[in-house]
């Protein structure tokens, strides 16, 4: 469907398209994350479905113009529902040769490249390792290249501002954003509001960036370079009120909501670590919401101060990433022993050790399930989408309080930084919280258990008559006194295991998207949800007998899982690790779960999963 309209620049076509994938790429100092984030937010506001994937280096400012310094932001927006940031971009906006070089390989064949021609001087080409200028040597012949003097155009537009040349140049990201807004028919207002807020401390930057954005838009309108503009109509999302949200914000809001519904103060002990720090930042702004945050001296103090706050009656949590969890391990064991509610949120990143701090991975599943000395079972829940981090956090807190246990929540860098439109929840419809605080001293023992859940009572210091001691030494069943009795120890080990196993009564049965049984079942967990969903749809559309089951609780697993797995000829587990869930499924259910691994610090693409399915299904014929 397309229409034409008359513009001052001549006759242009407006093409209506269903979805677009754009990647903004530049130096880490070029403001690409802001540009991408703004395009995302605006696209969400105009009603498109969106999925974004920010991808930035670990260095704050790697040497300018070099390959390691390239920061990218991929955005998928559409008029239909989408689940991933997309495989290959339709459009690449490259602010310099390094950004072009790093990202070109991902671009669709015959895709569009918009480059800043001013950044292609010999020294820039040298830094990126180009032997000749790709804009002139014909190497980009397969693409549609639009080379613009972005730096010069921005400076011209800002001449009147009195800013230094360098300051003016830094506004070129808003100039290019203005062009993109024009090209895709987006309104400027949301970003104009953002600029006002972001630079409120410096009026001249508000003015300059506003001018740059508008000038970019006007340039798009006036230039004859763009013969086609695009319209991406709103998506038909379920009705309701929406906002744009990333995983770390959703997790923060989920925690505050959980504490509010439980009538408890929220305590966050945390130590800065990528990609979890934003939760600490955001939570620290909300102290008037019944939140208390402590930036501890190290990861161990972060979790142990939280455990202290849990003893003192708070809904306590700690946020970190894999290396931090490694340091917190002993304290999580203590939390298991003293049976206090505590949420440990692991925003996973590439590992082992320091690994790839800003890249995504889901290789901490074994660590979450087994990473403590002795028998120390902990419920483990994984968020599936950015918005789902809200619900996964809420649920983790609910289970921690109901069962008096530490709970590990797994998110990852992809969910944490990626964003999507989020249907704002009706808070009154969230599951009620069970808080086991006890004040009655009659018949009190710290390790007497609730018959339904095996949870022990929460006797908070300050409560008269309930004075008692807890600690890491083995407890006598009931009294909680120190006990070295061999049979008591086995009983307690089993009791703790049984308590965590009984969380299954709060775990919904596993449901398969697609059909009930058939040739190939994908089993996933965490952030692969989107990629597996689109791959499954693709395969079903091709006529294959395929289903998708996504595990939210990794421990305990749904009651019906074993039975469901047995209804399929093949089980394939796509994971961003070397096959951790498939290992667990094989061990638990004696099922021949095949592993599809990817550990590149990047999420799966649809085609990678489809390809694997074709191979497995081919073997069935």
């Amino acid at each position: 469907m397309s229409t034409t309209e008359k513009t001052p620049a001549g006759t242009r076509r407006v093409e209506t398209i269903d979805d677009v994938i754009i990647r903004f790429a530049g130096d880490s100092g070029d403001g690409m994350q802001i540009t991408g984030g703004q395009f995302t937010a605006t696209s969400a506001i105009v009603g498109n479905d969106i999925a974004s994937f920010p991808d930035f280096p670990a260095e704050i400012r790697a040497p300018a113009g070099t390959l390691p310094g390239v920061s990218g932001f991929q955005l998928h927006f559409a008029s239909s529902d989408i689940y991933t940031p997309g495989d290959a971009p339709d459009v690449l906006v490259a602010m310099n040769p390094a950004a072009l070089k790093v990202n070109l390989g991902d671009l669709k064949r015959s895709g569009t490249i918009i480059v800043n021609k001013d950044a292609f001087a010999q020294k820039d080409l040298d830094k990126a390792g180009y032997k000749s200028n790709p804009l002139e040597d014909g190497s980009l012949a397969a693409y549609r290249v639009i080379a613009l003097d972005l730096t010069r155009l921005t400076k011209t537009a800002l001449e009147s501002t009195g800013l230094s040349s360098r300051e003016m140049e830094r506004c070129k990201n808003f100039f290019s954003l203005g062009i993109m807004y024009w090209l895709y028919g987006r309104p400027l207002e949301p970003t104009l509001r953002f600029i006002k807020e972001q630079f409120k401390k410096n009026e001249k930057y508000v003015e300059a960036n506003t001018l740059a954005l508008k000038a970019g838009y006007t340039f798009g309108e006036a230039t004859e370079v763009f013969q086609i503009t695009y319209e991406v109509p709103p998506a038909s999302l379920p009705p309701g009120e929406y906002r744009n949200i990333n995983g770390n914000t959703a997790l923060t809001l989920g925690a505050i909501t959980a504490a509010r519904n439980a009538g408890l103060e929220l305590f966050l002990g945390s130590y800065p670590i990528t990609p979890a720090s934003d939760i600490l930042h955001e939570m620290s702004r909300y102290v008037n919401y019944g939140v208390c945050t402590v930036q501890a001296e190290d990861e161990i103090a972060a979790v142990t101060s939280s455990l202290g706050a849990a003893f003192a009656g708070c809904l306590a949590m700690t946020t970190t990433s894999g290396p931090g969890v490694a340091l917190k391990t002993e304290a999580i064991g203590l939390a298991t022993m003293v049976e206090l509610p505590l949420v440990i949120a692991n925003i996973q990143r590439g590992g082992p050790s320091t690994g790839l701090p800003t890249k995504t991975e889901q290789a901490d599943l074994f660590q979450a399930l087994f990473g403590r000395n002795s028998e120390a079972p902990v419920p483990v829940i994984a968020a599936q989408t950015s918005g789902d981090c809200f619900y996964a956090m809420y649920e983790a807190a609910r289970i921690a309080l109901k069962y008096m246990t530490p709970v590990i929540l797994l998110s990852d860098g992809y969910l944490a930084n990626g964003s999507e439109p989020w249907l704002i929840p009706d808070l009154s419809k969230l599951a009620p919280m069970v808080v086991r605080k006890r004040t009655d001293a009659a018949g009190f023992h710290p390790y007497l258990r609730d018959p339904g859940t095996n949870a022990r009572p929460w006797a908070v210091p300050g409560t008269p008559g309930l004075e008692h001691r807890i600690g890491g030494l083995e407890k006598e069943d009931g009294t909680g006194n120190v006990s070295y009795e061999p049979l008591n120890h086995e009983k307690m080990v089993r009791l703790r295991a049984q308590k965590v196993a009984s969380v299954v009564q709060d775990v919904p049965d596993a449901e398969v998207f697609g059909r009930e049984s058939g040739d190939l079942l994908f089993v996933g967990w965490g952030s692969t949800h989107g990629a597996i969903t689109v791959a499954t749809r693709h395969l079903i559309a091709e006529g294959h007998s395929v289903g998708h089951l996504h595990l939210r609780w990794l421990n305990p697993m749904p009651k019906n899982l074993g039975a469901v797995l047995k209804k399929w000829k093949r089980v394939v587990v796509p994971e961003m690790n070397l096959g951790q869930l498939s290992f667990v499924l094989r061990g638990k259910f004696l099922v021949d779960a095949l592993s599809l691994s990817k550990v590149q610090g990047r999420p799966f693409t649809e085609s990678e999963i489809v390809e694997k399915a074709h191979e497995v299904l081919g073997g069935l014929r």
């Binding site: 937010a41 929406y242 906002r243 305590f267 003893f311 306590a316 808070l427 300050g462 600690g471 890491g472």
Partner: protein, 351 residues
């Protein structure tokens, strides 16, 4: 199984007069016979009932080691945590509930080796915790390895040819971390220990108390110079605020400031009078406390006992709470419905 806690005896009478027996648990105390820990337990059980704090408001937090079994023997709230982490756990408790009286019981290995990081950060923040660090200069529970306070060259199971480590001086470490209350006492001097415990309890902020404690199994006689009454009256210098630094059985010996050193002198000899002696000032912001802490001890100098420093600084928990109250005043109590709608929102109508 022990009997359920008797509510009537405690709950209703929180403010009622308390006695030592209110703080004794039914658990058998399992330190070695002759251990200095018994005397410290006894002193704490005697002081707690005097403090006018309801029993349910006490929390004792410990790490790992002989000293860290302490909470099991105190009928208060107690948390026997993991090695070195008691100050961090206790920080969480105190920040969450500033109304509680939170005591950390730890040892030289627990506090200064594995837990050194938490100790210095607790002290610099001035978290309102009372820290009793039992210093026996040895690892007792793991059966006799040298500790961060063992003297250099000490022969132990893990250092058969003598240790190569230089030891920490816990008092200078605490002063270096800007602790607001720093004191020393010794297990065998019950009355002095109780005085110091009361002072620590009354201090608003971190109170760091080093208690010399004899391990009669693995390091007997570590504090021989000040252990027996006789030698103590000769070698201990009891610090008193505003009083000259006098010590010795006949109280004729004293310390005089000479340049940047405290120099032992004898009153009545070489024209030295009491007026020449250095006057102890607990509240001094300068390095005087450090000079006292760094005295080498007998035979050259005495060993100071008592309060080295007490200064008034806002506590961490008060600052945190103040900030929360300020935010509530400035922004009002958080409206969750508004918060989840922060930023731009839009409505999708049903088709």
């Amino acid at each position: 199984m022990s009997t359920p806690v008797d509510t009537a005896a405690n709950a209703a009478n929180a403010a009622a007069p308390q006695s030592k027996k209110d703080y004794v648990t039914d658990q058998e105390v399992r330190w070695c016979p002759g251990c200095g820990d018994y005397a410290i337990l006894n002193a704490v059980q005697q002081v707690f009932p005097e403090l006018g704090i309801p029993r349910e408001k006490f929390v004792i937090v410990s790490g790992i080691g002989c000293s860290s079994r302490f909470p099991y023997y105190m009928n208060t709230y107690g948390f026997h945590t993991i090695h070195g982490r008691a100050p961090a756990v206790a920080t969480g408790i105190k920040v969450a509930r500033p109304d509680l009286s939170v005591w950390v019981v730890t040892g030289d290995g627990d506090a200064l080796a594995i837990g050194g990081n938490h100790v210095i950060h607790m002290l610099r923040r001035n978290v309102g915790l009372k820290v009793l660090m039992f210093n026996n200069r040895i690892y007792g529970l793991t059966k006799g390895q040298y500790s961060p306070t063992s003297e250099q060259g000490k022969k132990t199971k893990s250092t058969p040819y003598g240790s190569s480590d230089r030891p920490f001086n816990p008092i200078t470490l605490a002063l270096g971390a800007d602790a607001t209350f720093v004191a020393r006492s010794i297990d065998v001097d019950g009355p002095h220990m109780k005085t110091i415990l009361r002072r620590a309890a009354a201090h608003n902020g971190s109170a760091f108390v080093e208690i010399y404690q004899n391990c009669n199994i693995f390091n007997d006689g570590a504090f021989e110079n000040v252990r027996e009454k006789e030698s103590r009256s000769e070698n201990a210098l009891y610090l008193e605020h505003g009083k000259p630094l006098l010590y010795g059985k006949d109280r004729k010996r004293g310390l005089r400031l000479n340049g940047f050193h405290l120099e032992p002198v004898t009153v009545g000899e070489n024209g030295v009078t009491e007026k020449d002696l250095y006057v102890h000032d607990e509240h001094a912001p300068d390095a005087a406390a450090v000079l006292l802490a760094r005295l080498p001890g007998p035979p050259e100098t005495p060993i100071p006992m008592g309060v080295f420093r007490e200064v008034t600084v806002p506590t961490f928990e008060d600052k945190v709470r103040e900030q929360i109250r300020d935010a509530e005043t400035r922004f009002g109590p958080g409206d969750l419905e508004k918060l989840i709608r922060s930023g731009d929102t839009w409505v999708v109508k049903s088709a």
